[in-house]
Amino acid sequence: MYGLGILKGLSVTLKHFVNTYVDDIKWGFAKRYTPEALLVRQSAEARGVFTVQYPEEVLLPQERFRFVPFLVYEGTDEDRQYRCTACGICAKACPPQCIWIVRAKDPETGKPLRRPAEFYVDIDICMNCGSCAEYCPFDAIQMDHDFELADHDRETAHIHDLQRLGKPVEYYAKIRPTYYAAEQEAKAAKAARAAKAKAARRKDK
């Protein structure tokens, strides 16, 4: 019969339509729009409505999610101890070359120091590839999770300087917990090895 194929197809849309209400009832209308429900709504178990009501609801990014780099610093906001040593690997590795670094110099001797005096990322050019974070030997530059960067002015807001790039290590630990844990573990192991070696040397003496 002509039209049977269309009816068959429409049965699928009808199923989808009904499923939205099944979901509503299952979750008890209001609760469907809670953070817990959101995780189910956007998962392999999802049956009914799939959409997210942004900006009221925001999907949490995955841990590896990457969006424009930031610089990790230890210490407080007033006294920032950047992990960055201004070695310049990120600036070299960056495919679109959007990182600019001025290495700090000793004011008296003029010798280069292991920290940046200035650090810029032009986020108009940055393509969020994550190469800088991947190749940084000091875990000093990391990719951010904050993707809501809309601005009114391209001229001033889109070149991030040291002040803007810096974020505390606690923030890094929050957005990338497994990476931070692994890093701390490696550091602890290294410190333990160093202490052991030191003790052994002392014994030799």
Binding site: A44, A46, R64, A93, P95, W100, I159
Partner: protein
């Protein structure tokens, strides 16, 4: 050898050919003095004299069975003052026979091979545009990706882009005294445009446009009502062109008389950018070619680099790569079918259902790579990082349970719909011979009845370990292309299930990852079966850390070659459907 050759004469697409070495031997014997082996270190194939090229090509096609010309591209060996045109031809079951023609930079002219392999059409135009190699006898040798007022040929080594800084990255201005600047401040708008000598934009008359129109066929009616044909531009801004593609159509009433795609609106000189970069720096740029299938693009590129270096990734990385590539295939086919239905007029119901599933797969991509579309996940010698905890469970839930059910449901929703069948059956016929001659690949080729899948013919990575069917259908119309994609999703799921069961533990990277690497001098061409078809990467290294030549054999662009052939005689509304059935991404067409 010659008897063997004589026997294979006249056999159609499945002509059995000996090995590539035998073929190149036969070619050298047939054209003594005109064809000589390429003896440069790390190079393969033969160099053909320009005056013997067409005869040699005919011999290759008709006597030796190399019916499929995969790639044509130019290379600028500026140091030797030579321009080279490189061809990669394939037989039904053979590897690539590489042949090259060298000409001096001064007056580069090479006979065109469009008459032998029509698939050379767009590619020779591209090579002309990028390198200025003139292909004598080409039916329509115009610029294809840039415009006619463009100064110079952008892939020549002496050509410099408006925001030129240095030959190679990394640029010296960035560190240790990286005073920040914007490229557009140094070279503001108005000064950043170059014109070719003698070109005055104020006096410019758009002859190329009228040439496009004049180049199209007109119907001359002998009898009946005398009517005029009309020329219609579909695009560059048109919802059905999936991006910025312009299709010039000559219409007689509503019937298509002739048609020509006009490309280049999204051209960004991807290959030049690549040649400025170090080898690993190119990987994130490949994501932006076919932005729907970034994982496959990255895979094709790293395989080409690995071929050049001669390294193998670890087992686990191979499996992860296959899993990602097949998930990408599902994503692509979901979108291709969804948007094909949009083109027919089923506005957004199928595509949104497909997007639900795509969304879940993109979540998996975000988990492993950190990004949903611009994955940047493949690395030379492995992958970016191992699968995170919980990834496999999520993926299994999809691959074993949800996606198979969805594909069935999608079938129920679409396949038997009478409106769809009447719009797609018998529309856009592309016979097998033409599909092969015009360089069609992927689902487009397999729907024309040619069971050609690179995963099977020339297995790369670890595809030889999996059990899967090469989907092929024989009606060569839009409906069959749709069904081929539907079935390929099932086959991808099959591969995924096997890969997920077999995946071993272990490292995911050989050697140390680095942002730069020295690559031995030589050339390599690697092609993969990307979701849209044959995606090839041609690399030439001079032994440094940047490629001397980086070329992308763009699936989408070459699949557009048969568009006119498929559309002639159909209604204008069918053009949209046929274009949708080819499945193009403009990021890859224009590069």
């Amino acid at each position: 050898m010659n008897e063997q050759v004589a026997e294979s004469e006249g056999v159609q697409l499945d002509a059995a050919v000996g090995s590539v070495e035998q073929a190149s031997q036969a070619l050298r014997e047939a054209f003594p003095g005109k064809v000589r082996p390429d003896e440069r270190e790390g190079y393969e194939g033969v160099i053909v004299d320009a005056d013997a090229l067409v005869d040699a090509a005919l011999f290759l096609r008709d006597q030796l069975g190399f019916r499929y010309l995969s790639s044509v591209t130019g290379v600028d060996y500026a140091n030797d003052g030579l321009l080279e045109s490189v061809y990669h031809a394939y037989g039904a079951e053979s590897g690539a026979l590489v042949f090259k023609v060298q000409v001096g930079c001064g007056n580069p002219e090479i006979p065109s091979l469009v008459s032998v392999w029509p698939s050379a059409n767009f590619q020779e135009r591209e090579s002309y545009d990028m390198y200025g190699i003139r292909y004598a006898g080409h039916p329509n040798l115009q610029r294809i990706l840039t415009w006619e007022g463009f100064a110079g040929h952008p892939m020549r080594k002496d050509w410099r882009e408006p925001y030129y800084e240095e030959e190679h990255k990394p640029f010296k201005t960035r560190h240790p005294d990286g005073g920040v600047f914007r490229a557009e401040d140094r070279n503001p708008f108005g000064r950043n445009v170059q014109y070719s000598p003698g070109f005055d934009p104020a006096k410019w008359e758009d002859i190329a446009q009228s040439a496009v129109y004049d180049g199209l066929m007109r119907e001359v009616k002998e009898e009946g009502l005398q009517t005029e044909t009309i020329t219609v531009n579909v695009g560059p801004q048109h919802p059905s062109t999936h991006g910025v593609l312009r299709v010039v159509v000559v219409l007689d009433g509503e019937t298509v008389v002739d048609l020509m795609p006009v490309l280049g609106y999204l051209h960004r000189n991807h290959e030049k950018i690549g040649e400025r970069c170090t080898f690993p720096q190119i990987i994130p740029y490949t994501d932006r070619l076919d932005y729907i299938c970034s994982m496959s693009n990255g895979l094709g590129y790293v395989l080409a680099v690995e071929k050049l270096i001669g390294i193998q990734p670890p087992e686990r990385a191979e499996y992860i790569r296959v899993i990602m590539a097949e998930l990408t295939r599902i994503v692509n086919h979901l979108m291709a079918i969804g948007f094909l239905w949009n083109d027919v007029g089923a506005y957004f119901t199928p595509v949104i259902y497909a997007f639900n599933e795509r969304e879940l797969i993109l979540d998996l991509f975000e988990m492993v790579s950190g990004s949903r579309m611009m994955c940047n996940y493949m690395r030379v010698g492995g992958v970016f990082e191992d699968l995170p905890a919980g990834w496999m469970e999520k993926a299994r839930a999809l691959v074993y349970d949800r996606l198979p059910r969805f594909v069935d449901e999608f079938h129920r929703l679409l396949s038997e719909n009478e409106i769809w069948r009447s719009r797609s059956m018998g529309v856009g016929i592309l016979p097998a011979e033409q599909a092969v001659a015009m360089g069609a690949s992927g689902p487009l080729l397999r729907a024309s009845g040619v069971p050609y899948d690179i995963r099977r013919v020339e297995p790369y990575s670890i595809y030889d370990r999996f059990d899967f069917d090469v989907v092929v259908r024989h009606n060569a119309d839009v409906y069959d292309r749709f069904l081929v994609r539907m079935e390929e999703m099932r086959q991808s799921l099959r591969i995924l299930r096997q890969a997920m069961n077999q995946i071993p533990a272990g490292p995911v990277q050989t050697g140390k990852k680095n942002w730069t690497m020295k690559v031995p001098a030589g050339e390599a061409y690697h092609r993969i079966e990307a979701p849209k078809g044959e995606l090839g990467f041609y690399l030439v290294s001079d032994g440094g850390s940047n490629p001397w030549r980086y070329h992308v054999r763009s699936t989408s662009m070459i699949n557009l070659t048969p568009l006119a052939e498929m559309c002639r005689g159909h209604k204008i509304a069918d053009v949209v459907v046929i274009l949708g059935s080819i499945d193009i991404t403009l990021g890859e067409v224009d590069r």
